[in-house]
Amino acid sequence: MPFETLLGAWVATGLTLFILTFLYKDNPLFKLAEHLYVGVSVGYTVVKTYDTVLVRLIYMPIAEQGEWSLLIPIGIGILMLARYFPKVAWLSRIAFAFIVGVGSGLAIPRIISSFILKQVEDTVRPLFYAVEGGGVTFTVDLMDPASNLNAVVLLIGVVSVLFYFFFSVEHTGPGRAVARTGILFLMIAFGAAFGYTVMARMSLLIGRLRDLIVFADPQYGRPSLWLLLTTIGLLILWTTRQTERSPDGS
């Protein structure tokens, strides 16, 4: 196994365990790993921004294809950075005005089309289907999201939740019944969201523990085991010192 992979396994395991020590309590090992994380992430961002923006989006198109018009966004970008120089900080407003103006303009028609019209269109579906030879049918298959019964339930849900949110006056009479229905739907959706969040968080833990299991293999020199013992030892040492410093345990 290459030395760099071996070293990587030990470093990755150590840093994983350092972060996990937070489960005991906030401690220097966690803080060290936390600051390393921020530092490396920012460094990575700088490098990627340099490669993508300066090299691939600016230098190459200008140098190889003569796209000199790209000097305009560079100018706008530099105006943004004027924020750091108090005397000319107001210049950054021009850059922000451009970005926010274009962003708002781009967003309005697209959001209306995607999230309002399309969503309303799918909510107001036919309550009955015409069948060949005359007459109508009402499908009740719960497992088919497009069935008529589900279309009715969906419509009730959307209307009652919108009613609950938008009519913030005191809910009385029939309004109360609609609002209560809205709350019921909301609670079910929140429950489902909780269930999915649990699923997601557990998946992340599974991923990290799987890596620790892989690194417990003898071919890596069992870093998971050795570093676990070392980390526990360091935590004990740190706790003992803390207790000595404040004998009342505070």
């Binding site: 390393l36 340099y50 923006v53 407003r93 309005i108 959001i111 419509l155 939740v161 999915y196």
Partner: protein, 224 residues
């Protein structure tokens, strides 16, 4: 001068907002060219926005180190790891005999920059979020109580979904899988749709307020 500082930004926002809102409905080649050009510009400007954010962090921790504030050593670690990553990512590699230019691998071989990414950044960020698994379990035990009918409904829905999304749940309570599908596809979808419509209406209202200069918070700092 007052015009440049106050009115000009509002005028630019208004003009850009109106032009690009209308552009969507005008598929003329000139209008399409305008869209292509300006979205390309936004990509580049987006890069500068990142620089803005990073520089703030740079200043913050440099100040902590200079003033030797409590915990400045950690700021030193942050600074060193940040500078180290940048040097390794943009520097010259003698083993590869070329500039690294932010490449994690060159011809399939991992660079030092790639090593930092794979063995430091990925496990650090991954674990940082993985510990939330423990806290969500603890929170579920301490505060997930059926204090009212509504809370009981929430609890039951959560339990059904947790059962229905794992093989053991589907095996022990076979109906939980179908029940979860129905909850997600119909009940959950209806609520999420109402929320989506509500949020979208809010976003549109905010965009219109920005375009017409009613909402100006984005212009923020800078001396008048």
């Amino acid at each position: 001068m007052n015009f440049l500082r106050r009115q000009l930004p509002l005028l630019i926002t208004f003009a850009m907002g109106v032009v690009f809102a209308c552009q969507y409905y005008v598929p003329h080649p000139v209008s399409e060219l305008l869209l292509t050009t300006v979205t390309k510009w936004l990509q580049i400007i987006g890069g500068f926005a990142l620089v803005l954010g990073i520089t703030s962090l740079f200043h913050l921790h440099a100040g902590k180190i200079r003033r030797k504030e409590p915990g400045w050593g950690y700021s030193g670690v942050l600074y060193a790891s940040m500078v180290g990553t940048i040097l390794v990512g943009l520097g010259y590699s003698f083993s590869f005999q070329q500039w690294i230019l932010g490449k994690e691998t060159i011809d399939g071989v991992r660079t030092m920059f790639g090593w930092i990414y794979t063995f430091m950044m990925v496990p650090l960020q991954g674990t940082m979020f993985a510990i939330l698994a423990f806290f969500i379990a603890s929170a579920a035990y301490r505060s997930f109580r059926a204090r009212s009918r509504e809370a009981a409904v929430l609890l039951v829905a959560a339990v059904i979904v947790m059962l229905g999304r794992v093989p053991l749940g589907e095996y022990l309570v076979p109906i939980s899988g179908d029940a979860t599908q129905w909850i997600m596809n119909v009940l959950n979808a209806s609520v999420r749709r109402a929320i989506l419509i509500g949020i979208s209406l809010g976003a549109i209202a905010l965009s219109i307020k920005i375009i017409f200069g009613i909402e100006r918070a984005y212009l923020g700092g800078g001396r008048e």
